[in-house]
Amino acid sequence: MIPRHLVIGMGVMLVAVFAMGIYAGRMRGRVAQTAPAADTRPVAPPPSGPTEQVTLYVAYDEAGILRAEAARIPLPSARQQRAEELLRALLEIYLAKDSPHPLAPGADVRAVYLVDPGLAVIDVNGVFANGHRSGVLEEELTVTSMIQTLSSNIPGILRVKILVDGKDRDTLAGHADLSAFYDTGAVAQAVGQME
């Protein structure tokens, strides 16, 4: 025969465990509701102020070409931020509804690092690469349009390296090589064939 006080004690403890479980479940739901959604926006605020004329090299899938297009965008004075804003302006075209060269929603440039002498490192996010359409021409258009846009607006860039989420990657989506450093002179020649 189990003593009465032990039965009561056990019952109280079971009720307490049950109540704690309900409380913990509610707390978790409340945290989930208040947690912000994954933020894919650039860390830096959008620049404002006077605009500058730049040349964007825009890819057109239908014809498989790159077109040099003049645009006016607000640009910060710092060289590195200018590079980032240039690429974001290009991506804005690619992410628009009637994009001539669609990229995956959420694709973004995380940062551009300008390292002397003449090296630019473009760091794109995972969505950019993982959601990219596979194909020699599609991938080449993306890579060359970014590099040419950068090198034609920011003087002194001789080599470009592309990282994905800060890491090396073999190819963009199975074709375009991301393992090596791009020579901006060679890219400019290739762009000449694609205009």
Partner: protein
Amino acid sequence: MVPGPSTIQRPSPVWSGLRRVLALLLVVLNSILPAGSADEKRIAVYSATAHYSLPVTDRGGREYVGLLEVLEPLGTVISHTDGIHWKVRYNNAEAEFTANQNRAKVQGRDFDLTGNFLLESGRGLVPANTLGTLLPRILGGAVTLNESSRRLFIGNVATHFTAQLSHTTPPRLVMNFSAPVNPTIATEPGKLRMSFTREPVVAPGSPTLTFGDKNIPSATYSENNGTAELTVNGGVALMASFSNDGRTITIAPAPQQATTQPAQAPPAATASSPVPPGTAAPFVPAAVSPSGRRFYAVLDASHGGDDRGVALATQLAEKDVTLAIARRLRQELESRGIATLVLRDSDANLTFDQRATLANTARAMVYISVHAASNGKGVRIYTALLPAAEENNGPFVAWNTAQTQYLTVSQAAAQGVASQLQKQQIQVRTLAAPLRPLNNITAAAVAVEVAPPGSDVMDLNLVAYQQNVASAVANGIAALRAQLGEPR
């Protein structure tokens, strides 16, 4: 990416690594032994669309062959494993097999195999001697199997030949074939052997031909292990030369000076060098450049294994289209007398570095990477968009820019191929692209990206279109052979 069949499971990293190592080993062995080693059993398949040979596996004292491998080069094939059942669909024909059962259903009707069907790791194996009766039910046409020599003829594809001795001084044995041939030639004292591994050469009226000449008294025909062999017996050392686009082989005594001088570089279009009598000669390549360096093409069907490439359509992956086109291109190049190796001749995983290493080790004169695309029309030819220069270290060439000194000849090859495609009314464009492993190749290197001829991506699978593209690309490479064959 296209989801795989329901039965396909993601392999463990260890298993995946092992598979990659095995696949690489197979490719290396295949490159070393393109015609199969003496011990390896093979079956040769000849059809209007492709000529190829496949390994034969012994199971329980019976010879087996993978049915999917037999059908893949012939048309669109889809297989599906469901437990112990294995279904295969070739164009509109369906067949269903059950593991360890000899009864199958082909086109809805029962079919008895000569032995049990085997299912090994999702691969369906049928007895090799069943193919002669099974394939007509699936393909819907005549199929002839020569069981003892393991040679399978699909449709009326046989290459016949005549042999006639011209009693000139010196005598010449002229052999005319009904289609271009490219045998491997070997000589030994008193004999010149021609091995036909990829040509559907069939026996003449009598296996022994006698000519009544002391220099070239006779020739014998034999077949074994998927290969036809023609041996010309000679009282003196013999040499062979090709003409008429590979349709004629002329056998004649080797020039006398060959007995006292080192072998000279053969003239263009000559298939063998003089061989001193009394010494066994190594295999003689079928196509030799004017410089004496072998003109050798390496074809690389891009992607493969876990890497499906572009999902061209729900059931159409880039890796399958590239393999089909590469196989057709091999056939076209070989019919033009160009020895060719397909780097990925199965559904194997190969890294870029492995592809480049294999191509460079094979000392190819031209490397052609095959890709497929769903966007655009026609064909795009790419040469390497070289990365930023890296320093060579003495005799060691920087890996990422190894293509640098070959870029001019690669661009010439691209232009040559493009002009031949234009002649075929195929829309074509030449571009530079950052496409590995083009930049790692130490030979003329181009990538051929085939897009559909029109708006329907499924047209990429049309045999006629693939054949048309392969023929034009082969014409471009053949036209450039003299230029690419020059020593560098």
